[in-house]
Amino acid sequence: MAAAFALLAPCLAGPVRGQVAVSVTAQSDYQYRGVTLSDGRPALSLDVGYDHPSGAYAGASVIGVTGPGGNPQVLGYVVYAGWSARLTPALAWDVGVSNARYTEPTSDAYKADDTEVYAGLIAQNVSAHIYYSPNYLGEDAAALYLDVDGTVRLARRWRLFGHVGELAALDGGAGLGGARDYFDIRGGVAFAFRNGEVRLAWSHVGPRPSYDSGYPEARDGMTLGATYGF
């Protein structure tokens, strides 16, 4: 990760101004590919992203949840860096690397340290990425994850969104609770207001994975989220 930021450093120092985006997201449950990481509790995340005119980008998210006793607690963070560029006015490619560290909600110990490299294509209303992780969600297992996301704009402020993801364990599933692969789907409706958006989503995972790192199993159901950008 440090190397990725080092690669970006010359870009950040360039004479052309990049764009910094800051946003806050509140969610009724922090889900990662259909698996709840907040044990079904509400989560708040602060996201900072930087886009350089060259196409280089980097960002970080800090996620907080309500811990035992009602005290706020850092659930984890995600840092990422990559490069994206338009192939045509309506199609872009995207490559990068991300690192996520999450705690178990009931303790302060980090339980997952997950680094992924990814590549994808993003069109106007649909995107697809493939991710490779040598230690998926902190498990002792390498995995590939492929996802496709889409959105359909119903009106200027309303849109439907959907997500389909497939996780494939590269070690026969020994490190992922015995599951060789699983899929997750997510869909919902979003309403945009000036700099933000409110989303209601339903998600499902099958078959339900069980991780040694202690996270609760996948949780189907509705989640409510809102993002505001500054």
Binding site: V16, R17, Q19, V20, A21, V22, S23, V24, L44, L46, G49, D51, G55, Y57, G59, S61, G64, G67, N71, P72, V74, V78, Y80, G82, S84, A85, R86, T88, P89, A90, A92, D94, S98, A100, D108, G120, I122, Q124, N125, V126, S127, H129, D149, G150, T151, R153, R159, F161, H163, R186, G188, A190, F193, R194, N195, G196, E197, Y228, G229, F230
Partner: protein, 425 residues
């Protein structure tokens, strides 16, 4: 340590959310309608970065979603503050790779100078003044409808319709408000959007006339037959009709046209009709290039009073069309019927219209016919001219154009016209 950090984070985020809530409340307040003169507005184009991975996002692709909107608005607010401007509105144009902000320039400042100063800001892709575009129609005579259409005779419209009607070809009419329920247009408009002021209550003359020439219903016992009655119209209002007197001209500006063009492109319009002209513009040029790159044909009215025929007719790749009744046009400009053309008008009526706007509408319809026969029939190269059989402009041979696109050789259009006395008025 972590618990302390988390508490600090929680307090900080709560404060941020409270600020966001206040900002939302402010957004919810009615925004006073901009009374600014478009001539005193500038467009500030901020780069729209290509979309990319974001952790935990439910964005699903859409370039215009996500946190970058907030970043752009913050940049625009800073620019407005630094230059003493007011942000009037904004509209993302992802196909052009920009987020467009409209800013009002106060009296005492030159919009040209302000645009030039803004263009030097490293956060700005470019800046330009708002420009105005006029529909190219002559005054509409207040005469009853004659059952005569120039294209019916000169272009042998009935013979053309044996070959093609433009079935399912998507034609975007970027113009003033089309009367969708006009008896000759009912069912012809597939989608209608308003990108102008959004306040139009009544249909407007110019857009309704252009739409009728392109796609009025055929064999319904009413009015006229459009050149391409099988086409699916996208009635995109980007122009407005002055609300005083009997003026039926239309006026558009850079942003309204950019919005409509962007919609037409992203909804796969195969023919885009721009019966208007004005000064060249980099934002519109970029969008037209995107449309051409996606295989759309862009047809524009040629204005003999403007240098190069005016923009967008002067733009490379655009099919420029002039009214044939006004004599020869420069090389590369096509000629089509544009005088005494009966067509649809608001209020369920029909009138004659004149001008290169309506010549352009004829050609948009003809391109739709050719496009039905062959998806390769695009741009000026799809048109065959009468004099030379070439495609370098001049009077159009409509039959040859459709035949070349892939019509059966035994069709009526492949035979000579009955007699010159009948074929021409």
């Amino acid at each position: 340590m972590i618990a302390r950090l988390a508490r600090w984070l929680g307090v900080g985020l709560a404060a941020w959310l409270a600020a966001a809530g206040l900002a939302c409340a402010a957004d919810g307040a009615p925004t006073p309608a901009s009374a600014a003169d478009p001539a005193r507005q500038v467009l500030v184009l901020l780069r729209l970065p290509p979309e990319h991975f974001r952790p935990g996002a439910d964005y699903g692709g859409g370039y215009t979603d996500g946190p970058s909107r907030g970043a752009h608005r913050r940049i625009a607010s800073r620019l407005a503050r630094e230059h003493g401007l007011h942000v009037a509105s904004d509209w993302p144009l992802p196909l052009a790779g920009v987020d467009c902000f409209v800013m009002d320039v106060p009296a005492g400042q030159s919009p040209d100078m302000v645009a030039a100063e803004l263009a030097h800001d490293p956060g700005v892709e470019w800046s330009e003044t708002m420009k105005l575009y006029h529909g190219r129609s002559a005054a509409t005579p207040n005469d009853p409808l004659f059952r005569v259409q120039p294209a019916a005779l000169e272009w042998r419209l009935a013979d053309l319709h044996e070959i093609a009607t433009g079935r399912n070809v998507r034609v975007a009419v970027i113009d003033s408000l089309v009367e969708r329920n006009h008896p000759d247009l009912a069912g012809q408009v597939d989608v209608a959007m308003d990108f102008a002021d959004g306040q139009a209550q009544d249909a407007e003359a110019h857009g309704t006339a252009v739409a009728g020439i392109i796609a009025a219903r055929e064999n319904n016992g009413l009015g006229i037959a459009g050149v391409a009655p099988g086409a699916k119209l996208m009635a995109l209002r980007a122009c407005w009709q002055p609300r005083h007197g009997a003026d039926t001209s239309s006026l558009c500006d850079t942003l309204s046209l950019a919005k409509a063009l962007h919609f037409a492109i992203s909804h796969d319009a195969q023919v885009i009709n721009l019966s208007l002209s004005g000064p060249a513009d980099p934002l519109l040029s970029r969008l037209i290039d995107v449309a051409l790159g996606r295989g759309a044909t862009v047809v524009a009215a040629y204005d003999r009073d403007l240098p190069g025929g005016g923009f967008p007719a002067s733009h490379t790749g655009v099919v420029a069309v002039a009214d044939e009744s006004l004599g020869p046009a420069p090389r590369g400009v096509f000629l089509a019927p544009g005088r005494d053309v009966p067509t649809t008008q608001p209020g369920g009526r029909w009138y004659f219209v004149n001008g290169s706007s309506f010549a352009a509408a004829h050609v948009s319809g003809l391109i739709a016919l050719a496009r039905e026969r062959s998806s390769r029939a695009r741009g000026g190269a799809a048109l065959v001219t009468s004099a030379t059989g070439g495609t370098g402009g001049g009077a159009i041979d409509a039959c040859a154009t459709v035949l070349r696109a892939g019509a059966p050789r035994q069709c009526a259009c492949a035979r000579p016209p009955p007699s010159p006395a009948v074929a021409h008025r």
